[in-house]
Subunit: 253 residues, 2 copies
C-alpha cells in the first residue's frame, strides 16, 4: 500500500512544488510507482511535469465537487512510473464552495484510499496556506515533508505549522508524523543560510534530512521546459540533491 | 486623503512583504505619513518592522471580529511617520469564521475609511492566496502593486491574478487599478530573469516600474534584525532600489 506524504508549509515560495515534483520524479526513476497529487490551485506541479494546464479537462477540483473519482483523474506523465492528478484554476473556488459541506476535510483522504494499492508513493503538493485544501492533504497523509527555505521569514513560520499539525492530530488524523524537514535554497557562502541551518538542526535533530537543496539555477529553469530536474539536467547540483533526498526517503520506511 | 495600495500576488515568496515593508519605510523617509496594514496571518510585515509578534495584543484579527476599530489597532514603529496595524496567528482562523457573515468582504474597507484622512499612504501586505483576506484588501484598495519574481512559476500565475482583479472590479470595487508591476529578485546574469523581464515589459509596457529589485542578500538579512532595509543598510543595492521605487510611486499621483 502507498506511503502518502504531504509536502506542506504555509510560507510561500519555500520550494514545496520544486520538492514535490523532483522527489516524485526521483522516486519514479528508482522504479517506484508514484502518484503526484497537485492540491494547489496555482497548478505549478501540473506544469512542472510538462502538462499544459489549458488542456487539462478534469482536475482535483472535480474530486471536491464529486464529479470525478480520484482514479478517473490520474494522468500519465512522460516519465514511466510517474502519474499526476492535475490541478487548474477552478480549484481556487473550492474552499468557499465547500465551507459548509459535511465531511469537507476528508474528501481527499477518501479519494486516495481508493487508489492507494496501485502506488508505492503518493506525494501531495500543497498551496501556501492553512485552509481547507491543505487540511485535506494533512488529513489524507501519513506524514508531512516540510521544505524550509534558509531565510528568516521561513524560520518564523515553522512553529505555526507545527502547531497546526498538532491540531490536525487532535481531530482528523491522529497518526500524522513529520516525514522530515528539508532545508532548501541553501547557500554555504551566506551567513543567514548557515544560521538557519544551525537553528533548525539544533531544534529538530534527526528529523532534518542530511540532504540540503542548494540554490541552483537549473532548478528554476527546469519548470519553464516542463521537466523535472533529472530529465532537464541530471548533472546539476539540483538534480543530485533531489536524488539524494529520494535515497533518504526510501531508506525511511 | 490617503492613497490605499494593496501589495498582492497569490504566488508565494515573490517579495510581497519585502516590498510592503520597504516601500512603506521609504515613503515614510520622504516624510509621508504611512500606515502599513499586515493582512497576512503569517505576520511577516509585523516582525519586518521590528514588532515582537508574541507581545502583540490586538491585531487585524480583532478588526474582523468587531472587537476593535482600525484606529485602535494603529501602532507606532521606530521610524517616524511609519505606523502599522499588526497581525498575529489568530488571523488564520478568520477566513473560516467569517465564511457566512454579511458584508464579510468590506470589513477592511470600512475600517480603513475611518482613518484615511490621517495618512498619505496606506499599504496592505496580502497573504499568498485569493481568499477572503486578500479579497478584503482588494476591496479596500484604490490600486494594486503586483510584485513578480523573475521566475517561471511567478509568470504563470499572473494571468490568474489579473482575472481575479476583473472579478473584483465587476462586483466589489469598480475603480480598482493596477498601481504597477514590480520585478523582484532580478539577476542580470541569469537568462531566465532577463526572459521574464522581456515578457512582462512586452505585455504590460508602462505598467511595469522602471525600478527592478535585484536579488540582494541585505534584503533577506534585514528582517532578522527587525529593520527595513533603509535602516539596516542604506548603501545596499536593495535599499537603493526600494528608494527608487518610492520615487516612482510618489511620481504617479
Ligand atoms: N533550490 C532552488 N534553487 C533555485 N531556485 C529554486 C530552488 N527551489 C525552488 N526554486 C525556485 O524558487 C521559486 C519558488 O519555489 P516553488 O515554487 O517550488 O515554491 P513553493 O513553496 O511551491 O511556492 P508556493 O508557496 O507559491 O506554492 C520557484 O520559481 C522555483 O523555481
Ligand atoms: N530582492 C530580494 N533579494 C533577496 N532576497 C529577497 C528579496 N526579496 C525578498 N527576499 C527574501 O525572499 C523571501 C521571500 O520574500 P517575501 O517573504 O517578502 O515574499 P512574500 O511574497 O511576502 O512571501 P509570502 O507569499 O509567504 O507572503 C524572504 O525570505 C525575503 O527575505
Ligand atoms: Mg507551490
Ligand atoms: Mg509575505
Amino acid at each position: 500500500r502507498a506511503k502518502v506524504i504531504a509536502v506542506a508549509n504555509q510560507k510561500g515560495g519555500v520550494g514545496k512544488t520544486t520538492t514535490a515534483v523532483n522527489l516524485s520524479a526521483s522516486l519514479a526513476a528508482a522504479e517506484k510507482r508514484v502518484l503526484l497529487v497537485d492540491a494547489d490551485p496555482q497548478g505549478n506541479s501540473t506544469s512542472g511535469v510538462g502538462l499544459d494546464k489549458d488542456s487539462v479537462v478534469s482536475s482535483t477540483y472535480d474530486l471536491y465537487t464529486g464529479e470525478r473519482t480520484l482514479a478517473e483523474l490520474v494522468t500519465p506523465t512522460v516519465l514511466p512510473h510517474l502519474f499526476i492528478v492535475p490541478s487548474k484554476v477552478d480549484l481556487f473556488g473550492a474552499e468557499i464552495e465547500l465551507a459548509s459541506r459535511e465531511g469537507r476535510e476528508t474528501i481527499l483522504r477518501r479519494g486516495i484510499e481508493e487508489v492507494a494499492d496501485s502506488y508505492d508513493y503518493i506525494i501531495i503538493d500543497c498551496p501556501p496556506a492553512l485552509g481547507l485544501l491543505t487540511l485535506n492533504a494533512l488529513t489524507a497523509a501519513q506524514s508531512v515533508l516540510i521544505p524550509v527555505q534558509c531565510e528568516y521569514y521561513a524560520l518564523e513560520g515553522l512553529s505555526q505549522l507545527l502547531h497546526t499539525l498538532d491540531l490536525v492530530r487532535a481531530s482528523l488524523n491522529p497518526d500524522l508524523e513529520v516525514e522530515g524537514i528539508l532545508l532548501t535554497m541553501h547557500d554555504t557562502r551566506n551567513n543567514l543560510s548557515r544560521q538557519v541551518e544551525d537553528e533548525i538542526r539544533k531544534h529538530f535533530g534527526e528529523k532534518v534530512y542530511q540532504t540540503m537543496i542548494p540554490r541552483n539555477v537549473s532548478l528554476s529553469e527546469a519548470p519553464s521546459h516542463g521537466k523535472p530536474i533529472i530529465t532537464y539536467d541530471i548533472r546539476s547540483r539540483g538534480a543530485q540533491s533531489y536524488l539524494g533526498l529520494a535515497r533518504e526517503v526510501l531508506g525511511h520506511v
